[in-house]
């Protein structure tokens, strides 16, 4: 397959990207607003073209544990779901992290808590970046804000995940999953051969032929060893924090006030910036692309010149906690968010900025 320009939904782009970035296996269970991922894969029949395995599992519990089995074999495996399904997966994610396995998990967030709504939300931020499962672990968390990024981040997530043997999550929201845009699909990246997997992942379960047996286990009853294991995980996380922060900065050097938003909200904030400029108000936008590792330094530096910051999220105020940590109370940080699946329009965001940040200053 060659590079191709198509018009499609974010969810469809995810599916095409999985095939084209050489996925070995997808395991998933239907849930709105991301069911198009599994549907597209089943329609594309990649088992006939690339040999990729696609399984509709009986639950998200099963899908994440299928991912665990596949990841233990050194395979490039992925599951996708939306918020309630991701909650169900937390035990499995913790096991993957503890076993230092590479894997990709996609959450196309919907409103919660509970069964909540099928409409978009960003309220799983804490769950993704602070660890939703048990124990001290982190997920490399990428937040796409376009259909193109839904595609590109599949490749990026796998590269990072295999590099650090750390689970990667694409944290999208229902808007990015459902909206249609132009996307450039990459040319087919061949799936790795068994030989390549053995070389890249000498720890993988490939049958103990000509080598000592490999064991993947998260269990360690020797507390001293368990502490050393945890210290090793933490060293990896520090390495990732050092090397892998990604952030987009728009007009931050020449602005009075800063907006901070990720995913679909960053797109809306771009319109807010345009509208504000027409009124002679200069706004900058910081869009964290990696939610973990979080761009603390970048935000801290950009905030030095700003008179105030508005964090715009589809939740009751989650990422704002990290923004506040970044600016160390040196700048006023306020939050604007809509809940329950409602998406704010640019005018109401600008009004909120005036009311909560600009006029508060006077």
């Amino acid at each position: 397959m060659k590079e191709e320009v198509r018009l499609m939904k974010g969810n469809e782009a995810l599916a095409h990207a999985m095939i084209r970035y050489g996925a070995d296996g997808y395991f998933g269970y239907p849930i709105t607003p991301q069911s198009e991922v599994l549907e597209t894969l089943e329609a594309e029949m990649p088992w006939e073209s690339t040999g990729m395995v696609v399984v509709q599992a009986e639950s998200e519990l099963a899908s994440i544990n299928m991912v665990y089995g596949g990841a233990a074999c050194g395979k490039a495996v992925v599951t996708s779901s939306s918020s309630p399904g991701i909650s169900l997966m937390q035990e499995g994610i913790s096991y993957l992290a503890a076993s230092e396995l590479p894997a990709l998990i996609v959450n196309v967030m919907r409103g919660g808590p509970g069964l909540g709504t099928i409409h978009p939300s960003q309220a799983d931020y804490f769950q993704a970046v602070k660890g939703g499962g048990h124990g001290d672990y982190r997920l490399i968390t990428l937040a796409p804000s376009s259909v193109q990024e839904m595609c590109d981040f599949v490749g990026l997530a796998w590269d990072l995940s295999f590099k650090y043997r750390t689970v990667a999550m694409i944290l999208a929201d229902g808007i990015v999953g459902q909206m249609m845009e132009k996307v450039v699909l990459p040319p087919q990246r061949p799936r790795r051969t068994d030989e390549e997997i053995r070389k890249q992942c000498p720890w993988a379960l490939t049958g103990a032929k000509g080598r000592k047996p490999n064991v993947i286990s998260s269990l360690e009853l020797d507390t001293a060893q368990m502490e050393r294991n945890n210290e090793r995980f933490q060293r990896t996380y520090r390495e990732i924090e050092k090397n892998e922060v990604r952030v987009e900065m728009l007009d931050v050097d020449d602005c009075d006030y800063l907006l901070v938003a990720f995913g679909s909200m960053a797109r809306i904030c771009q319109k807010v910036m345009e509208n504000a400029r027409e009124e002679g108000l200069k706004l900058g936008l910081i869009r964290p692309i990696t939610l973990w590792p979080f761009p603390y330094e970048q935000i801290k530096n950009a905030a030095k010149k700003a008179k105030g910051i508005l964090v715009v999220e589809l939740d009751a105020g989650q990422m704002i906690e990290d923004v506040k940590l970044a600016v160390e109370c040196k700048v006023d940080v306020e939050h604007y968010g809509r809940l329950g699946g409602i998406v704010p329009n640019p005018d109401e965001v600008l009004d909120a900025l005036k009311e909560k940040v600009i006029n508060k200053k006077k």
């Binding site: 519990l61 074999c73 395979k75």
Partner: protein, 253 residues
């Protein structure tokens, strides 16, 4: 004759399989787990499958199965072994993939994964140790605990009105179109051990041949959990367990 005159290679009639390493087992004396581990190691070695096999160990007393049998293993979350095995076998169809699970793991928390893996006809073998109790956590009621049986959570005996009925999950799996071989065995006598071995060989062959899901239930003793001597536990199993869980093939296609 001196003992050292007897211990000579030419007099060897039986030896421990080399795939079963020398790590001290954590199992209680009298427990069935150790015997079944030995059978698995013996079979893999005799058939030359050791470098093709990938085992999935459970959460339960057999959680450390990977410490004793020298093949590739992954340790699953409680109940999820068949989901892991599904992916492993689909992604590496040339491998011999099996799970090793207790009754709590397979028939309580993991019932969904058991039923659906078998219903999809995944080409895996499931070795199922039914000791009618949660051995690892200190002897609580399992789904397979017999009526009237005393456990840590049924101190006055299992009651239908409080706890429901013992679950014969192998019968359930035998009903599914995706299962090809379902059998119930035990390892309390040399003859039983030989039959159990033949059953596990057949299940492993099915996995390699891609014939569907095989389930080998081993009706087992947990003398520590049952608070009996090993000999008493064997007798008790024959007298009580075999009534609810009769030995023999349930399905062989």
């Amino acid at each position: 004759m001196e003992i050292n005159d007897i211990i000579k290679p030419e007099n060897c009639v039986y030896k421990k399989p080399t795939l079963l390493n020398d790590t001290n087992m954590h199992y209680c004396p009298g427990c069935s787990h150790g015997v079944v581990h030995k059978l698995i190691a013996e079979i893999l070695e005799e058939k030359g499958w050791g470098d093709k096999a990938i085992g999935v160990s459970p959460v339960g007393c057999a959680v450390f199965a990977y410490k004793y049998v020298d093949i590739d293993w992954v340790e699953a979350a409680h109940g999820r072994a068949p989901a892991l095995a599904t992916a492993i076998k689909r992604l590496q169809p040339d491998k011999l993939v099996f799970t090793y699970q207790g009754d709590g793991d397979l028939a309580a928390i993991g019932t969904g994964e058991t039923i659906h893996a078998a219903n999809r006809g995944e080409n895996i073998a499931i070795i199922f140790i039914n000791n009618a109790i949660y051995g690892m956590t200190g002897g609580q009621m399992a789904p397979t605990t017999l009526l009237g049986m005393k456990t840590a959570t049924t101190p006055y005996g299992r009651r239908v009105d409080l706890n429901g009925y013992p679950l014969a999950i192998s019968e359930l799996v035998a009903h599914l179109d995706g299962s090809c071989y379902v059998t119930r065995q035990s390892v309390h006598t040399p003859a039983a051990v030989r039959k159990a071995k033949a059953a596990i060989i057949h299940a492993f062959e099915n996995s390699m041949a891609g014939k569907g899901t095989s389930l080998v239930e081993i009706v087992s003793t947990c003398n520590a959990g049952w608070k009996m001597t090993p000999a008493q536990a064997n007798d008790w199993m024959v007298e009580h367990m075999f009534k609810k869980y009769p030995i023999g093939d349930l399905k062989n296609e």
